[in-house]
């Protein structure tokens, strides 16, 4: 399952990021494989979506979110 498959409120753990540039961009926010992210909300036109990494909220497009594999955090 990837980031775009989950719903608002879900807390997830990243299992892989299959795009080198995206991986590096996310790293700048302190986010990498094993980091946890929270889905915050979708936006009025349905894309991008808003997620929280630690205490930073970022918007990410669906097309990029699909490259981030995640699983639900217990």
């Amino acid at each position: 399952m990837n980031l775009s498959d989950f719903k608002a409120g879900d807390t997830l753990t990243i299992t892989s990021i299959c795009d080198e540039r995206l991986k590096n961009r996310l790293l700048n926010f302190g986010c990498y494989v094993d980091s946890s992210v929270v889905i915050k909300q979708s936006t009025p036109l349905g894309d991008p979506m808003i997620i929280a990494i630690r205490d930073t909220e970022i918007a990410i497009r669906k097309i990029d979110a699909q490259k981030v594999e995640c699983e639900l955090c217990q």
């Binding site: 795009d19 540039r21 995206l22 590096n24 961009r25 996310l26 790293l27 700048n28 926010f29 302190g30 990498y32 915050k40 909300q41 979708s42 936006t43 009025p44 036109l45 349905g46 894309d47 991008p48 808003i50 630690r54 205490d55 930073t56 909220e57 970022i58 918007a59 990410i60 497009r61 990029d64």
Partner: protein
């Protein structure tokens, strides 16, 4: 006397520009970073016999993995010998901000850390131990607050010292970014933030976002805010101020200067000053209120944090033509006046996007073109004036979309980088900072734009007031401009309006679009300069439409070209002066010939 160079560095949205404005006076210099169109803003202040120059770097998150633009800036930081770096960090998001800090310290250059929003962090029970941070990194750390002077004096006196020390960290900073992140998480943050009760409370920002990003409310709210911005600029404040200035110039200044003996005796000099210089430069000065109001509004939207939300809301709609949501501001401003719109493109976030927006702006029909539209609409579409003018506006947008798609497909076709945009916390903007920013923008425009505009104005004045034999004349049909019109007329024949009168009008329109109508008044020799009753004799409906399409699309005016020169340099000034003419010619040609099938 020496000048110390201080680099001001930090993540985006941490109050960097506010600090910059607090440190420096009203003497900014804006240039471009080498090879790119990104603003390089620097400002100075004096203490004793020393001058300090602060360079406000664009915000970035990391020294590694930057996009192309960030790399230019980062290389500059690494290669140039700045006397000291001020690294401003957001106290409420310390963990993320310290990634850049650790990387900067690894560079080994003298550095001081300013922890911003220290009070706000405290009120959220984030208790930052400044001394512990100093000890771990082996550098000076101080707390500042954006809305008052606290910490600024300390920072200033720190920057006053003779020799800056390189950092001497106690922790051994890791090499890899990932290692740095883990080290901050496990070693630095636990030592620096005393009460690590990770409270998951709902901030004011979360509450506001629930409303302004709500599925149903987001678009109406954004519409209201943008409508407010543009109504203030182009209707309620900017335009009335503009009219006042205009009246002041034409009813006070012009009569006053006309009484000057040197002018009263010499009709040529009088015409040069009154029709040429005052007329031309006047149209530029009256653009000033628009720039002031628009930039004040834009800065408030930007500094408050709402601009990032606009970007997010409109991303899906604008990405198809290769733009991000925030491009909506320059694009809509273009319907008012292209000059501030060109300036507003500098606020976009990538080189590619700035250039794309710049290329589309000439097709957003500015208000100066309305007199042309209404003249033709009254004559050729009686009863459908509003509908026909509206159709022209829509046609301009349609052409902009086509050009956007073409540019995206053929010119700027590199794969777009992943779109990741931070949604910063909402803050009350600092009005001192807004005021300063706006004033700098307006003054910069006046200083740099006026020279080129003056040259353009005098050129067109000379063309329309001198004959082939270089004799001064007041009859435009004997002028060089009319000759030029005759020479160029065949170029416009395929568009259906290739007469010297029309071409003369088009050339004078480079000065300002309103001039086209007044030029028609002269060259068509209408009763009392009014051509409404006789325009029918010179245009068919088909050629009128073709002419309207041409005026809709061709180069806005010399003020736009010179603003582009100031913001983007010579190459882009040429592009903006010439490429819309080519687009206008091609589209008018197509329209004229398509109409020929029916008319």
């Amino acid at each position: 006397m020496s000048v110390k160079q201080i680099a001001l560095i930090g993540n985006p949205n941490v109050g960097k520009t506010t600090l910059f404005n607090q440190l420096t006076g009203l003497n900014q210099r804006v240039a471009n970073w080498p090879g790119i169109t990104l603003d390089r803003v620097s400002g100075t202040y004096k203490t004793g016999n020393e001058t300090l120059e602060i360079i406000d770097f664009p915000g970035f998150y990391s020294l590694e993995y930057g996009e192309i633009e960030e790399q230019v800036v980062i290389n500059d930081l690494k290669e140039n010998e700045y006397d000291c770096i001020i690294n401003i960090v957001d106290g409420t998001q310390l963990e993320r901000n310290l990634i850049l800090t650790s990387q900067l310290i690894k560079l080994g250059k003298p550095i001081v850390i300013a922890v911003n929003f220290h009070d706000l962090a405290k009120s959220r029970k984030i208790d930052i131990d400044i001394l512990a941070l100093e000890r771990l990194y082996g550098i000076k750390v101080m707390a500042i607050n954006p809305r008052n002077q606290s910490g600024i004096t300390d920072l200033r006196s720190f920057l006053n010292q003779e020799n800056f020390q390189s950092p001497n960290p106690v922790v051994k900073i890791k090499d890899e970014t990932k290692g740095i992140i883990e080290q901050i998480h496990s070693e630095i943050i636990p030592a620096v933030i005393n009460n690590q009760c990770a409270v998951d409370f709902e901030t004011t920002t979360n509450k506001i976002d629930k409303i302004v990003l709500n599925r149903w409310l987001a678009l109406p709210i954004m519409f209201l805010i943008l409508y407010g911005l543009f109504a203030l600029t182009f209707q309620y404040v900017g335009t009335p101020l503009q009219d006042m200035l205009d009246t002041l110039i034409n009813e006070q200044f012009v009569p006053w200067i006309s009484t000057a003996p040197i002018l009263a005796d010499n009709s040529m000099l009088m015409s040069l000053v009154v029709d040429g210089i005052v007329g031309g430069v006047g149209t530029v000065i009256v653009a000033l209120p628009l720039i002031l109001i628009l930039f004040m509004g834009m800065t408030i939207i930007e500094d408050s944090g709402y601009m990032a939300r606009i970007s997010v809301i409109l991303d899906r709609a604008l990405r198809h033509i290769g733009l991000s949501g925030r491009a909506i501001i320059p694009l809509i401003s273009g319907f008012g006046c292209t000059v501030p719109a060109v300036m507003a493109t500098k606020g976009l976030q990538s080189d590619r996007e700035r250039k794309m927006a710049l290329m589309l702006l000439p097709f957003m029909s500015c208000t100066a073109r309305v007199p042309i539209y209404s003249l033709f609409a009254i004559v050729f579409f009686p009863g459908y004036e509003i509908a026909s003018v509206f159709a022209l506006y829509l046609f301009g947008v349609f052409i902009a979309i086509i050009i956007g798609l073409l540019l995206k497909t053929f010119v700027y076709r590199e794969t777009p980088s992943p779109f990741i945009l931070e949604l910063p916390e909402y803050h009350f903007p600092s009005f001192k900072s807004i005021f300063k920013h706006t004033l700098e923008k307006a003054l910069g425009f006046l200083k740099k734009a006026t020279t080129v505009i003056l040259a353009g104005v005098i050129l067109i004045w000379a063309l329309s007031h001198y004959t082939k034999g270089l004799q001064y004349t007041e009859a435009m049909n004997e002028s060089l401009l009319a000759d030029l019109g005759n020479i160029l007329a065949p170029v416009f024949a395929p568009l259906g309006f290739g007469t010297w009168q029309n071409v003369t009008g088009i050339i004078s329109g480079f000065l300002a679009k309103e001039t086209v109508v007044s030029t028609f008044g002269v060259v068509y020799n209408g009763p009392e300069g009014d051509v409404t009753s006789i325009l029918n004799n010179f245009f068919t409906t088909r050629s009128a439409i073709s002419f309207l399409v041409f005026t809709l699309l061709y180069t806005p005016c010399v003020a736009v070209v010179s603003t582009t020169l100031k913001e983007y340099g010579r190459k882009w000034a040429f592009i903006i002066a010439l490429y819309p003419v080519a687009v206008a010619w091609i589209v008018s040609f197509i329209v004229y010939n398509l109409l020929g099938l029916f008319m």
